[in-house]
């Protein structure tokens, strides 16, 4: 394949495709393209190898599900060869399709007895799947036609040009979603809790000593990784320290115990759950390295 005039094929293909996307449904025929590149234009209107296959398959003039895949493979390979003769740089997926079809064709032609090879699907199944995909693509192509033939608003049919500027229904839509509803609810429930604030009540903190004692007492049950949330004590019914104080002091205490070599901590990512467990005293502390 000649590459002298072509950008890398993948890029070439991308560019062409994005041009297609914006340039209208009729195949483009810009004058500045030389005649020997007519096939380029043709490929343009095909868009992808599957589209080429569909166009070739139609020439067999049978139901696509009954198409001869070996013949189709030959047609496609010839097509690709022609394209390459014209020194047209083919996008990679056209070549991938070509080699796949060549492979499929060879397997279809192999005698039945020699076919069973590992877990590979039977070539007949592959052929049927390809035929189905072509049929499906064709169906979509046809539905494009029938869709665009429908009366279209502002092209074939027109609504009242001068509506009496009085819409019948006041918009019943509201600008709020479930999240807004949820947060409105939580905000109020929090305000409700805060309203029960009692200024005579001292704000209690969970002392570091208490936390250390608590953690030591928990140590025997921490043989497996346990989340900080589950280790820290729960506040009881509005009296005593708040949850956040329990968590903070327990965390501090766990750092101390880790330093002392009694505990291991791990956190998989920033802000992720913090896990702790009892350090197994199998090895002398000095030799243990973090894993």
């Amino acid at each position: 394949m000649s590459r002298e005039r072509a950008a890398p094929s993948g890029l070439d293909h991308d560019v062409r495709q994005s041009r297609l996307d914006f340039n209208g449904s009729t195949p483009d025929t810009p004058e500045d393209i030389a005649p020997e590149e007519a096939l380029v234009l043709q490929l343009d209107s095909y868009e992808g190898p599957l589209h080429v296959l569909l166009a070739l398959a139609r020439s067999q003039k049978v139901d696509l599900l009954k198409i001869s895949i070996t013949r189709l493979a030959e047609q496609y390979l010839t097509f690709i060869q022609e394209a390459r003769k014209l020194r047209f740089s083919l996008a990679a997926d056209y070549l991938v399709m070509a080699s796949w079809l060549a492979y499929l064709k060879s397997r279809l032609l192999l005698p039945r007895t020699e076919r069973k090879q590992g877990n590979e699907p039977a070539p007949e199944d592959l052929a049927a799947a390809l035929a189905f995909r072509l049929k499906k693509l064709e169906a979509m192509r046809k539905s494009v036609e029938s869709l665009t033939e429908r009366p279209q608003l502002k092209r074939d049919v027109f609504a009242r040009g001068d509506p009496e500027a009085r819409l019948i229904i006041p918009s019943s839509r509201i600008e709020a979603n479930v999240f807004d509803l949820m947060s409105a609810y939580v905000t109020q429930r929090r305000r409700e809790t805060e309203r029960h604030y009692d200024p005579t009540r001292r704000i209690e903190a969970y002392s570091l000593e208490d936390a250390r004692d608590h953690l030591r007492s928990q140590l025997p049950s921490l043989s497996s990784w346990t989340a900080l949330d589950d280790v820290a004590p729960q506040p009881r019914g509005g009296v005593g320290p708040k949850r956040i104080s329990y968590l903070a002091s327990t965390l501090s205490a766990s750092l101390e115990l880790t330093k002392e070599g009694q505990l291991q901590l791990q956190q998989l990512a920033t802000f992720d759950t913090l896990y702790m467990r009892k350090r197994t005293p199998l090895m002398p502390i000095a030799e243990v390295k973090p894993q």
Partner: protein
């Protein structure tokens, strides 16, 4: 062009036009030599007594809705409505705590409920009277409507997000007590009587009386 086709064409042109059209303007858009005047006359006759009438104003023709049906038309309001903060908050409490009384809503919100707030929610068909609580004073209770579910794309009340979703959404932080509970509105098994039409009228009256002081 047959007279029938011409009449249809004039009908379509007048309907789609952005403003009233004169006979000359119509003729300009139709094949030459057609009798636009005749078509307009027979079209006008055809629409006589219908919900829409063909009218001439200043020698220009246009379809207008029949004058006697004007009462059906209301102001345009195309933009989605914004609920006030108070309305959204009230709606949220009603959604989660239904069936809920006015006093209960006020107790959660910590402020009195202005008349307007419930009215707006009623008018938008987001809330409804559910019944009367079987407690002294038999207060009326509020709940949400089908429209509410549609507005918020909820298949059912059971699909209102619960504590887990609130936590996942980051709405519940550490200062929220661990025993924070959200009622399940779909289980609402509070004993109450269904609201009757008379009840509703009574409520309206009672509210008027109460707030007009």
């Amino acid at each position: 062009m047959t007279p029938e086709t011409l009449e249809r064409a004039v009908e379509a042109l007048l309907f789609a036009a952005a403003g009233p059209l004169s006979a000359a303007e119509l003729a300009y858009r139709l094949p030459e030599g057609v009798d636009v005047g005749q078509a307009l006359a027979s079209l006008k006759a055809r629409y006589a007594g219908r919900g829409v009438a063909l009218e001439v104003i200043n020698d220009r023709w246009q379809f207008r809705t029949a004058a006697d049906l004007g009462y059906l038309m209301v102001e345009e309001r195309e933009e989605p409505r914004r609920l006030s903060k108070a309305a959204l908050e009230t709606l949220a409490i009603i959604a989660y705590h239904q069936p809920v009384t006015r006093a209960e809503i006020e107790s959660v919100r910590g402020v009195g409920l202005s008349r307007g707030t419930l009215d707006v929610l009623h008018e938008m068909n987001l809330i409804r009277l559910r019944g009367r609580r079987r407690t002294p004073g038999r207060p009326v209770t509020y709940g949400t409507t089908e429209t509410f579910l549609e507005q918020f794309s909820l298949p059912s009340l059971a699909d209102l997000p619960g504590v887990a979703e609130m936590r996942a959404a980051g709405l519940l932080d550490l200062n929220v007590p661990a025993d924070f509970m959200v009622p399940d509105p779909s289980s609402g098994q509070v004993l109450e009587d269904a609201a009757m039409l008379e009840d509703m009228e009574e409520v309206e009256f009672a509210q008027d009386f109460f707030e007009a002081k």
